[in-house]
Amino acid sequence: MFTTLCLAISATLLLQETADVGAAAAAPDIEISILGGKSIRGRLSPATGARIGLETEGFSEPLIVQIDALDAIECLQEMKSAADTRGLFSFELSGGEQLHGRILGLTNEAWRIDAIGIGTVSFPRSVVTHARSLGSSSILFNGPHGLAGWTSGKARTSFATRGNSLTSTSPAARIERDLGLDHDRMVEIELSWSATPRFRVELGRRAKKSKRSGAVTVEAWGESLVAWSIRGKGLDIVELSQQIDAESELSLGARVTQAEITFLDANGRELGTLARPANSGPLLAVVNDGDALTLRKLRVIEGLHAHESITLEDALITGFDADENAFTAGGETIAAGAVTEILGGAHPAPGEVPDQEQAPIDGTTRPQDGVTVRFRDGRALTGAFLETDGRSATLQCAWSPSPLQVALDGLDRIDVHRPSRTAKRRATARSFVVTAGGEVPGELESIETDGNVVWQPAFAEQTAEIAPAAVERIIVNRATAYFASKRTFPHYIVLRSGESYRCRLISIDEEHVRIDTPFGADRQVDVALVKAVEFDQSAMDRFRKAFEEKPKDNGFGGFGFGGAERARVATSEGFDGDSLRRALALPRKYKKRRFEHLVIARTGDFMRTSVQSWSKEGVETTSLAGSNRVIPADRLAAVVWLESAQAKTLSGETSGAASRQARIILDETTLLQLKLSRVTDDTLHAQSDVLGDVTLPLSHIESIEFKADPKSPRTHYDDWTLKPMREPFPDAPEPAPTVDSPATGAAAPKTSGVDLEGSALDLADYAGKVVLLQFWGHW
C-alpha cells in the first residue's frame, strides 16, 4: 500500500460549503455500450424506473433504454473535479464504494458526513474499511476506470477495460492521458503483467512531439527497472533498482515537478531522480511492448511535501466534535486536519458482500444486481438504479436506509453488473439502423410516407421515429429466403446505374432489351440503360477474378484484327487483357459500322460484333467480316453493350424526392436503386423506372442504404469503351476473300519468302523435320 506524503496543515478549520446537488450543469454527453458490442452516443435525459433516457441525433424523441440491456455508460466529457477538497475525507466502504465528504458527526454505530454530490448521509462504522484525508493533497485523478478520457495512437481496442483496470495484449498498444503533470504532482501507479515484462511509462510527453523526446520514461530492462530521458544530445539514465520478475506487479510513485522527477517505491523510499526535459508536457502514457500488461491503479495527487502522518484506528475513536472539527481518541483530542488515515474496524475485503448486520434494507435489492457509478475523482457508489433526471441519478445503496440522489457532475462511467439475459438476447439483434449517433439494434417497423423511419429498438419499450436525413442505412440482415431461383431466372442483367439482378432474357433489338424479372414480367429496358447481360455467371465470375488479378499469360484469348468467322474453342483460363484492348480498338476503316456489342464466350474468347437479336438458340450477330451467324446460347458467357462517344449515358436515376431514393441490397449480386413508397407489414413497397412497382418482403433484404456510397457502384465493365485505333498498316490491302484453310491430312501449301533479316526462306528447306508453323504478330 503506497503511503501518501502530505504537508501538515494547521488546526484552523476550513469550512467546506456543501456542494450543490444537481447544479445547473448541462446533462453530460455519454456513450452507452449496448450488449453485443455496439454503442450509441447521446445526451443523458430523464427516465423513471431502471431506465435511462438518451437523446441521440436523428431520433425525434429520446430513447428510453432499460439499464439492464446495457453493458456500461461512459461519460465522454472531461469535467473538472468538483469542489476544493481541503478538509474532506474519502471513505472506502466494504463494497468497494467510495464517498468523499466532510465529517459532520460520529456515533458508536455510524458516521454522518456531508458527501459530495449527495448531501447529508449516514453509514455504519463497520462498513468503512479505510478513510483518508484528502487534505491539501487533493486527489486529481483516481483511476483507471474505463477508457473514456484516454487517447491512443492506435485503435482504442488495443487496450480494453476489465473491471477497474485497463489491460492490453497487443504489442505497441498505447494509451495516454492529460493528468496535468505540469505542476507539482505525486503520481502513484500500479502495473501487473504475466510473461516477460516489456512496458514503458512515460511521464510528461507532449502528444505532438516526436516519439521519445519530452518524457521521462520508466522501462523494464532485463530484471530491473530503469528511468531515462533524452536531454540535449545525451541520454540520462538512473537505475531504479526494483527487481522485476516474469509474472509480477509493480507499485511505483513519482514526484513530478517542473524541474525534476523523483521516483519512490511502495514504502516511500527514494529510488532516483532525473531532470525533467524542457519540452515535457502534462501527459502520462502507458505503452505495452510485450504480451500482456494491466494498469491496475493510477492516482494523481496534488501536493508533495512530507510531514508526519497521523493514523487512527477506528476502534479507538470515541467521538467527533463538529465545532472543534476534532476526534476524541484514547482520551486525546486530535484535530481532524492532522489525521491522514483512519483504519476501519472490521476490514472485510473490498468486494465482499457486507455481512448480516449490514444486510440491505430492501432484502430483494442486492448491490451486485445493480450498477456502480464511478466518478473521475475516485468516488464510487454501488446500488440499484431507481431513476434519473438527466443530471443526477437515484440509487438504493446497501448501507443507506433510503435512496440517495447522486449528482452526476464528474461522472466517469456507470457499470451495469448483471445485465438480463433477455435483454442480452434482444440486444444481439441482427437488424440495425445506422445513424449519426451510432448503430441501434432492433427491428424496422415501418417507413412512413413522409420518409420517417419508425424503429423498434431492441432494448426499449417504445418505438422511435428517425428523420430520414439522419438515417444512413438500415441493415435488415434477414436475407434468409432465396430471392430468385436460378432456373426461372437463369440470366443476369447489369445496368449502367450499377443495379444488377437476375432475369430471363426475352429479346434484344436496337432499342430495347426485354426481360422477365423476379419483380415483374416482361419489362422493356432502354438499351442506353443496359451495360451487360450475363448468361453463365460462373464463367463470368471466373473471368472477373482473372481480370482483377493479372491477365493470364497463356491462352488464345480474343479474336484478331483480321476478323472472326468462328468462335475459337480454346483453353484460355481467363481474360487476356491485351486481346481485350485490341478487341475494343476498332480500326478506323470500320468506324462507320456499328459494332457496339462485345460477345464473350464461356471459353474466354470474345468478339466485337453487332447483336441483331436473341432467341432460345442463341445470339444472332453480324461480325466485322460482314457475315451473320448465330452464336449458340450454351457457348455464351455474356453480351456487353460497349459505350462509344456517341452513346447516351443515361444513368437510370429516377427523379423525385431524393430523400426516399435508396439502394436496396438483396445479396452480394443483387442491387436495386428504388424510390421507396413505404414499408408496412414487413414488406417494402417501392418504384423504379425500369422495373415499375416493386414489392419485396423484408426477409429478402440484406440492407437499405440511404446515403450514397462515396464511390458509386462500379462493375468491371466500366472501363470498356470503344476507341478508334490508328491503322497500323496504312498500306494494308482490303481483306481478301477468305480461302478455305487446309485441314489436317492435307499437304502444306507452297510457302516461301524472306525472313525478318531479309534472307531467303522456304518451308521445303525443312523436309525431313517436324515443323510447327506459327502465324503471329507483335501486336
Binding site: 499469360d553 483480321g562 480454346a570 489436317t744 515443323v771 510447327l772 506459327q774
Partner: protein, 102 residues
C-alpha cells in the same frame, strides 16, 4: 506474343531432334521490327509476310491470330492449333516417325 515463353521452351526441349519452329510474321514492315523481335528473345526464323493479309497468310487462309499448324516430316498437316499442353507429346510422336524414315 503471350505464347513466346512456351515456344522458347519448345525450341530448347527439341534442339537435338529433327524439329523446327518457324514463324510467319504478320506485322507491317518497319525499321525496328527486327529489333523488337530480337528484344522479345525470339531466336527462331520467321517469314516476313508484310502484314496480316500477306501472301503466305492468304495462301493458308488464316483469319485469326495466333494460328499454328503442326507438319510432319513429309510436309503433311497433322494438327491445327494443337493446345500447348499436348504439343510436346504430338511432336514426340512425329519425331519418332521422322527418325524411322531416315
Amino acid at each position: 506474343m503471350a505464347q513466346v515463353p512456351d515456344e522458347r521452351s519448345l525450341v530448347e526441349s527439341n534442339k537435338n531432334a529433327p524439329f523446327a519452329l518457324i514463324g510467319v510474321n504478320t506485322d507491317g514492315a518497319s525499321d525496328d521490327l527486327l529489333k523488337r523481335t530480337r528484344d522479345a528473345d525470339i531466336t527462331w526464323r520467321s517469314f516476313a509476310d508484310g502484314g496480316p493479309s500477306g501472301p503466305i497468310t492468304q495462301a493458308w487462309g488464316v483469319t485469326a491470330f495466333p494460328t499454328s499448324y503442326l507438319l510432319d516430316h513429309t510436309g503433311t498437316i497433322r494438327g491445327v492449333d494443337v493446345p500447348t499442353e499436348q504439343l510436346q507429346g504430338r511432336i514426340d510422336e512425329l519425331v519418332v516417325a521422322a527418325k524411322e524414315d531416315l
